[in-house]
């Protein structure tokens, strides 16, 4: 057993006060800790561990690292060996060095993104508790994010120079972490260049996704909502709060999710992602999208390129 889900994402924000206001009031997260160097830790109402988003004050936007939770402590030993045998340099850190977490492994994906693995994080519990709970808590003021669902990382792709970090990352996630390749986009003259991949650690269509671009970065991280009605409500909330929306409510062909893309106050892209999409099973065939239907895969209704979707990321 390896990765069970996304654990947290640590992002840079330029104006910490604006960001705190946004992630609490609009995204409906709760601040669970603030440390002396200004970092802010938040969780959603439907999450039980201490935090899923870390806001780090910085002078530019983007991601510092992304953490995944593994099922049990001994998995860290097994995965350290597997990663090192694969040729990845791994740093092991003691309990507490990643705040509120047990011991951790840190390494860089072939794309350069920093990834952390942990098995234990301080427990807080859901807002509704775990005894005879209400279906949702009182006091939601924004989109009502349930949990941090997944992230999409932009990876360097330059096929003519022989560079495809999407393919390298994907191979690692499959071979070391036994993740399931749910969907992929294949492009190029022979249709053999892996442009984008969606990988599942459990039963949902993706826990992480990789897309090729000119340089590495953070494309977006997504919060889960129940259904289409919640997506429409979320879009209303974004409008009311003058949040910059990149793509209005729409369905993805890929993953079948219902989506909105928008930007946090520092320009990091967020998504609200609703619906299970479909159930991933270990023996489910991988879905492949071709270059001709690439945009239909991304935005199923409009089936049109959205330039900012590929150009704008942090």
């Amino acid at each position: 057993m390896g990765i069970i889900r996304i654990g947290h994402i640590n992002i840079n924000v330029i104006d910490i006060e604006e960001s705190k206001k946004y992630y609490t009031k609009v995204m409906d997260m709760r601040i669970t800790h603030e440390d002396e160097d200004g970092k802010v830790y938040l969780k959603c109402w439907d999450e039980w561990d201490k935090y899923s988003v870390v806001l780090t004050p910085n002078d530019s936007a983007g991601m510092n690292n992304i953490a995944y939770k593994v099922a049990k402590d001994s998995d860290l030993d097994d995965l350290k060996i597997k990663l090192e045998n694969y040729g990845i340099k791994v740093t092991q850190r003691d309990e507490g060095e990643v705040i509120f977490c047990g011991r951790t492994l840190t390494f860089n994906l072939p794309s350069g993104h920093e990834m952390i693995l942990y098995a234990q994080k301080e427990f807080i519990g859901k807002d509704v508790g775990d005894k005879n709970p209400d279906p949702w808590p009182d006091g939601l003021t924004g989109v009502g994010s349930h949990w941090l669902d997944h992230a999409l990382l932009m990876c360097e792709l330059n096929p003519e120079a022989g560079i495809n970090k999407v393919a390298e990352n994907t191979k690692l996630m499959i071979e070391v972490f036994d993740m399931k390749l749910a969907e992929q986009v294949m492009v190029g003259p022979n249709g053999d260049v892996q442009l984008a991949t969606w990988l599942s650690a459990g039963n949902t269509p993706h826990d992480i996704a990789f897309v090729g671009g000119p340089e590495m970065g953070l494309h977006h991280f997504a919060f889960f909502l129940d259904d289409w009605a919640d997506i429409l409500k979320a879009a209303d909330v974004l409008g009311k709060n003058n949040v910059k929306v990149d793509v209005t409510p729409q369905r993805h062909g890929i993953t079948r999710g219902n989506t909105i893309y928008f930007f946090d106050p520092s320009g990091n892209r967020n998504e609200t992602f609703a619906g299970l999409g479909y159930l991933v099973q270990p023996d489910m065939p991988t879905v492949t999208w071709t270059e001709e239907e690439l945009w239909k895969g991304i935005f199923f209704h409009t089936n049109q390129p959205v330039e900012s979707f590929t150009n704008v990321y942090t």
Binding site: I14, D15, D59, S60, A61, G62, L157, N158, P159, V185, V187, G188, V193, L195, A196, V211, G212, G213, P214, K244, D246, F263, D264, P265, S266, G267, N268, R269, E291, L294, P305, E307, S308, T310, N311, V312, Y313, T314
Partner: protein
Amino acid sequence: MKSFMYKLKMLGKKNFFKAINIDHILKSMEKNGIDIAPNGCYGGGCGVCKIKILHGETQTLSMSKKYINEEEKTAGYVLACRAFPKSDIEFEFVGKPQCKTKEKKKYGFV
């Protein structure tokens, strides 16, 4: 807040356009049909709307240092989504322009 109208002129365009000081310069570009105005993050984080102020004054909010370093800031570079006019302005667009033609990329996104 009292609002003021200013005249903005983009290098390479014949005519100026009117802009209100409570709109950031990118928004004024969009409102006035400047077709290369990119659709970016509006948060000073992604860098696509970079401009150089040639004449005039702006008031700016925080901007990513990755795209506007101290040297560039001194030289008059700003991100249009974080800059508000304080006078008439002439500027040069140096960011990633919105591509109106359907440019076919060889490998999907690159």
